[in-house]
């Protein structure tokens, strides 16, 4: 399965496109798309220029980012893997 992701225009946060055409920061609410649907939805998403920047498709496996870009998309989903190192710097 695939889904459409982008960065939100106003603040750059990672967003995913829902089945009803909205955008969400929660991957659980993102549309699950088969290959035929995916290109169509990506085409629609790419026109939503005032909301989403740089829309593209990602692969999903067990409802999490999959495929060769699983780590990159996993980091986009969950945030940096470095922990709170800026607070570690104070410790």
């Amino acid at each position: 399965m695939k889904t459409v992701t982008a960065n939100r225009l106003t603040d750059g946060r990672v967003i995913y496109r829902t089945a009803n055409g909205d955008w969400t920061t929660d991957l659980a609410d993102a549309a699950r798309l088969d290959s035929d649907q995916a290109d169509v939805v990506l085409g629609l998403a790419s026109t939503e220029n005032r909301i989403a920047v740089g829309a593209y498709l990602i692969e999903l496996a067990d409802d999490l980012p999959g495929g060769q870009k699983w780590r990159r998309e996993g980091i986009r989903l969950a945030g940096p893997t470095t922990g709170s190192t800026h607070t570690a710097a104070v410790a």
């Binding site: 740089g54 699983w70 470095t82 800026h86």
Partner: protein
């Protein structure tokens, strides 16, 4: 340090108003992303994995306490309470919202800072020796020249759309702490036989995908000819640089293709036509700029304190540097806590550094290419007070120049270009080398880590370089040995196949253990490496991988 005049303030105000309008037009749809992207990049605004990133220019790495407090305030009010110092003496915010960036730029402008030309194919922030004006080995303070180049290159209409980005470094000391041989142009201050100041001009250095060391094309350039000669260098590049191929567009490729001699000849031809024109620097203007960069004095010079406090003594030993003025020292504030993120600093820590600089360090702070900070001028009788203040702020880390003083790019945890993570590798190496005591035992060693071949973390010029690569979704790390940043600049050699990330810290520990076993006397790591060659460490690196 340089102080803006009314023209500087007006230019900045105009630019921010222009960008505010551009942001508004992007938000209401009048500009597409394709139209907006080059405009935001010209103002230092990138879009990274999770958010926008704003790169703030710190000209030749010099700041005062008001500027540092402003950087702290922005981190607190618009970001997540921290900033990240880079290898190009800039500061990056990882989480600003686009809608807030014009207001952030207003805050920066109020203290004479901006983010202009921190991206794009233009002349970027000029870098310099972070100890400039303080170093005991200095021929001359390079910052006035860096400031002259900054003013000349800011908004330069001819050089706003170069084939590729362009980086200039200025070094005024005998040791090269600016990396002049790994910049597009490196200016080394020299004295001729008559004792006059001038520049060696090195061209065509750079890292990235095709690392090259710069070549000397002008052994002595008179200071009044600086801008006309730089113009000639840029014109030849602008005309012949490979705009057709992103990977071959840097000046290093042109210099290599033409040969340094031919490139230099073309520069001389161009220069002959403009040398006596309006770009000749008036002596009065050089003096005016120099006057901004005074050297503080210590009215009652005190010696460096002798202390029985072992922690203070250890920190003095690692982080203090001799100053050219009797009674003063320079201090490195390491931003490399064990297991931390190289270059990160919290808003509270920035405020603490600002307070210490204002109280004890003649109101000056520097950012370094090693992602640390420096207080360049500290009276020796204030050293303990500064150390105590740094202890309170969690910044008295006594590892400047040690193997735990690791440089790392943001890597895949933040960067859109990265293939692999850098920071977690740095953290794991730091933890292991500290736990084993190898960091202390091995002495001066540079470790630099990159998450892609663009090499923002300078792995090519590290004694031990680590380059992250992606192979079908898995991270691997190539080790390079023998690189150096300085007068003995060298590009490191790739040792062999990449290692899994979890194997890198132990491989580096074994490399340092091998060094300790085979070094001759007090030989430094890099000297042992040069004596025996990198292959002598291959077995150690791959022993248990």
């Amino acid at each position: 340090m340089y102080t803006y005049d009314t023209y500087d303030h007006a230019m900045l105000a105009d630019r921010i108003a222009e960008f505010r309008d551009q942001v508004e037009r992007r938000l209401d749809g009048r500009l597409t992303e394709d139209q907006f992207k080059p405009l935001r990049l010209m103002n230092g605004v990138y879009l990274q994995l999770h958010a926008y990133m704003l790169r703030v220019a710190i000209p030749y790495g010099t700041m005062n306490s008001a500027q540092m407090r402003t950087l702290a305030g922005i981190a607190r009010d618009y970001d997540r309470g921290y900033g990240h110092f880079t290898t190009r003496q800039n500061l990056q915010y990882n989480w600003p919202a686009l809608v807030d960036i014009p207001d952030i730029l207003d805050r920066l402008a109020a203290v004479e800072m901006h983010a202009i030309q921190t991206s794009g194919n233009c002349i970027r922030n000029v870098t310099a020796d972070p100890f400039a004006g303080a170093a005991a080995d200095e021929l001359e303070d390079g910052r006035p020249w860096a400031e002259i180049v900054r003013q000349w290159s800011s908004f330069h209409p001819e050089f706003t759309f170069l084939p590729r980005k362009f980086k200039i470094a200025v070094n005024g000391a005998t040791a090269d702490r600016a990396g002049i041989r790994v910049h597009d142009i490196g200016l080394q201050v020299v004295k001729n036989d008559a004792g006059e100041t001038g520049f060696e001009v090195w061209v065509g250095g750079g890292q990235g995908r095709t690392p090259r060391l710069g070549q000397l094309i002008k052994p002595f350039l008179a200071p009044e000819d600086l801008l006309s000669y730089l113009t000639a260098c840029l014109r030849v590049y602008n005309q012949h640089g490979r705009r057709d191929n992103l990977y071959k567009a840097r000046i290093k490729i042109l210099v290599e293709a033409l040969g340094a001699e031919e490139y230099g000849r073309q520069v001389e031809d161009e220069w002959a036509a403009i040398r006596e024109g309006e770009l000749k620097l008036p002596v009065e203007e050089i003096a005016r700029i120099r006057a901004f960069f005074g050297k503080p004095q210590s009215p009652t010079p005190a010696p460096v304190p002798v202390t029985e406090n072992s922690a203070f003594a250890r920190w003095l030993d690692r982080n203090r540097r001799d100053h050219s003025v009797e009674g003063l020292s320079s201090l490195v504030i390491s931003l490399k806590p064990i297991g931390g993120t190289p270059g990160d600093i919290t808003d509270a820590q920035m405020d603490a550094v600002a307070d210490l600089a204002e109280r004890h360090a003649f109101d000056e702070i520097r950012a370094t290419p090693d992602q640390n900070l420096i207080l360049p001028h500290v009276r020796n009788d204030a050293l303990e007070a500064v150390w105590t203040g740094l202890v309170d702020a969690g910044l008295a880390i006594a590892n400047a120049g040690l193997a735990t003083d690791i440089v790392a790019c943001p890597g895949l945890d933040y960067c859109n270009l990265a293939n692999a993570r850098s920071i977690p590798i740095a953290q794991a190496i730091s933890n292991l080398l500290d736990e084993t005591g190898l960091s202390e035992k091995a002495g001066d060693v540079t470790i630099k880590i990159d998450g892609c071949i663009n090499a923002c973390g300078h792995h090519h010029v590290a004694h031990i370089g680590v380059l992250g690569v992606d192979k079908r979704g898995e991270e691997f790390y190539q080790i390079t040995l023998g690189g150096a940043f300085g007068v003995d600049a060298a590009i490191g050699s790739i040792i062999g196949k990449g290692l899994a990330g979890e194997d890198v810290p132990a491989a580096i520990a074994r490399t340092l253990e091998t060094y300790l076993d085979i070094r001759a006397g007090n030989e430094r790591f890099i000297d042992t490496l040069r004596r025996v060659g990198p292959d002598a460490f291959k077995e150690a690196i791959y022993a248990e991988a």
